[in-house]
């Protein structure tokens, strides 16, 4: 299997932008949800779905597909927006029914949504599930990969350390993890809450291959994906340094925007900002 889109850099940038615009619309309509992280991670998520991963949106359960795991479920706006642009769900459904009763797009992801591989919400749970999938793929001698998105605040969960240690020890080189290093969590900057330098050190000590990039630079993201795919004998961690709230000036780098949506004229302002960015 291959990536069915295999977009060029300009197409990926354009798609990431469209994802940002739609996630703002969906958040505004829902009246709750997370803005900062999803905006910051849009470039990386777009690159995985439209360039890096082997997927088939028309057959979400294809046995040979890559598994894309979002361990931090509060990224749902960017996850659903990307699934919509890839064709798993309709864009209208996303914008109008996100977080609504009776739909398939709950606040935190679960199996109701085509393309979602794990339920997530309590931080860290995706990491172990990714490890289990990768080990099962090795056991069955399958070629598919596991892509694992994590947040930096999430690294504070003991389970993440357990899973990272295990994946490193077992040399699961079919795992490519992308860490959203945006230095933001609910109570403030990650560096102030519990520090951040240890994160990279830990993964190195656990036996991971590490690539550090600007997670909002599409060319760097694509190069990191290409490089990670060539790594043998180690899982790869791509530390993607991103700007939380990327593209919306009043949200950028402000941790207060971690867990709330824009309301009223903030919506227009946010969409205006994103409009300016693409122009």
């Amino acid at each position: 299997m291959n990536n069915p889109f295999n977009y060029s850099t300009p197409m990926l940038k354009k798609t990431a932008h469209a994802i940002r615009v739609d996630l703002i619309k969906a958040l505004a309509h829902a009246g709750s949800g997370h803005s900062g992280g999803p905006l910051g991670l849009a470039d990386c998520v777009a690159a995985v779905y439209f360039y890096g991963a082997s997927i088939d949106p028309h057959n979400p359960h294809h046995p040979d597909r890559d598994r894309i795991i979002f361990s931090a479920g509060h990224y749902s706006p960017v996850i659903y927006a990307t699934l919509a642009h890839a064709g798993y769900v309709s864009i209208n459904h996303f914008i109008n029914d996100y977080r609504m009763f009776g739909g398939c797009l709950d606040g935190h992801p679960n199996f109701k949504t085509p393309g979602i591989e794990t339920a997530s919400g309590p931080l860290g749970q995706g990491t172990s599930q990714a490890a289990g999938m990768a080990a099962a793929a090795k056991l069955d001698k399958k070629e598919w990969r596991v892509w694992l998105f994590m947040s930096d605040g999430e690294q504070q969960e003991g389970q993440v350390q357990e899973a990272a240690m295990w994946m490193g020890f077992r040399k699961l080189d079919n795992v490519i993890a992308i860490l959203d290093a945006n230095n933001m969590q609910i109570d403030g900057h990650v560096s102030n809450v519990l520090g951040e330098k240890w994160i990279e050190d830990n993964y190195r000590n656990y036996g991971w291959y590490i690539i550090t990039i600007d997670g909002n630079d599409m060319k760097q993201i694509m190069r990191a994906i290409d490089e990670a795919k060539e790594v043998r004998g180690k899982p790869t961690l791509i530390i993607a340094r991103t700007v939380p709230g990327k593209g919306v000036k009043f949200m950028e780098n402000d941790y207060h925007w971690h867990g709330k949506p824009p309301v009223g004229k903030e919506v227009t302002e946010a969409l205006d900002d994103l409009g300016k960015e693409v122009n």
Binding site: A119, S120, Q129, L139, W166
Partner: protein, 330 residues
């Protein structure tokens, strides 16, 4: 003499020095056996390979055995990930740690996600003995029983643990199986019927219903035998499946007897006693006495000593029977 229901083909020596074997051993043998025919079965353990008896499988199929290390949260998540890839994972640890420590992972990655994971909670109950309260898991049944999608089985003995393991392998969905450390009398045999969610009526009676599970089924049978001599005619139900609870079998029995004693080696709050009390409270309120651990932690001691101290013996069941019959006749 207590008349045992022939349908279940129980061990003929129950009341005359029955063989002793731990039910965890039955699990270990069964897992090795199902692993032979079903290549999707995988086993995971947290540094307790020998005592959980998963060692049998690990030795026979090393490529399908995964040592997780001392990390029970990771254990549950890895098992879920493997299940999502089509495997049938059996994850084993001590019940004190799994589900004791990883309830959140079991709740979201296994129960909510409805992944086909089999959770083995070994060394449950006070009979772990000298290790003391931290290792004597008493709340696991209550924890697991509250989870949607979860099936909860408490095997009575060696052969039933074997049967439960085989049944759990073909059953699609999360299953929790609670095991004990100690050798306990063999009640069932390899031909005793076992169906998940179907309680076994080992003795038919008209005066009182004893509903027990785990090693307390033996205590219940011994109590019933003694009561029979006192002209009290006891119905004994082995309720190995706490969830789904076999409401039909229980209500049919209670409609006849009008008095109930439950017996388990766990907190009655949320346990089998809790489940039966909920059922009867809603559908058929009758005099009920629950034998089990009553809102307290365990402590060190020899297993037999602790069973006595925690009032978990056949004698305690007999006293409870007298009490509920007196209340019924009041």
């Amino acid at each position: 003499m207590l008349q045992l229901n022939k349908y279940y083909n129980l061990n003929k020596n129950i009341f005359s020095s029955p063989d002793l074997e731990a039910n965890r051993v039955g699990f270990g043998v069964a897992l090795k056996d199902v692993g032979k025919t079903n290549k999707d079965v995988v086993a995971l353990c947290c540094d307790l390979t020998e005592s959980t008896r998963i060692i049998e499988f690990a030795k026979a199929y090393p490529e399908r055995f995964f040592e997780i290390g001392v990390a029970e949260q990771n254990l549950a998540g890895i098992a879920a990930g493997m299940a999502l890839t089509g495997k049938i994972p059996f994850m084993a640890s001590y019940a004190a740690f799994s589900p004791g420590r990883n309830f959140d992972q079991i709740r979201v990655s296994i129960a909510y996600s409805n992944t086909n994971v089999k959770i083995i909670g070994a060394h449950a109950g006070v009979t772990v003995g000298p290790d003391g309260a931290t290792h004597q898991m008493l709340e696991d049944v209550a924890l697991m029983r509250t989870l949607p999608n979860m099936t909860v089985i408490v095997p009575a003995d060696f052969d039933q643990a074997y049967a439960a393991t085989v049944a759990a392998t073909s059953f699609v969905g999360p299953v929790y199986i609670r095991l004990a450390r100690e050798k306990t009398p063999k009640i069932t045999t390899s031909t005793t019927p076992f169906t998940i969610g179907k309680a076994n009526v080992y003795a038919k009676g008209r005066d009182v219903t004893i509903i027990a599970n785990g090693p307390m089924v033996y205590e219940a049978l011994v109590a019933a035998e003694a009561l029979e001599k006192q002209k009290i005619n006891v119905e004994v139900i082995d309720c190995h499946s706490v969830k789904p609870l076999d409401a039909q079998t229980i209500l049919t029995s209670v409609a006849k007897t009008g008095a109930v004693v439950t017996a388990e080696e766990a907190q009655v709050t949320g346990g089998l006693g809790g489940a039966v009390a909920e059922l009867l409270g809603e559908h058929m309120p009758v005099p009920l006495k629950r034998i089990g651990v009553l809102d307290r932690f365990g402590e060190s001691g020899e297993p037999a000593e602790l069973m006595k101290a925690f009032h978990l013996t056949a004698h305690d069941i007999q006293l409870a029977v007298h009490e509920v019959i007196a209340r019924k006749n009041r």
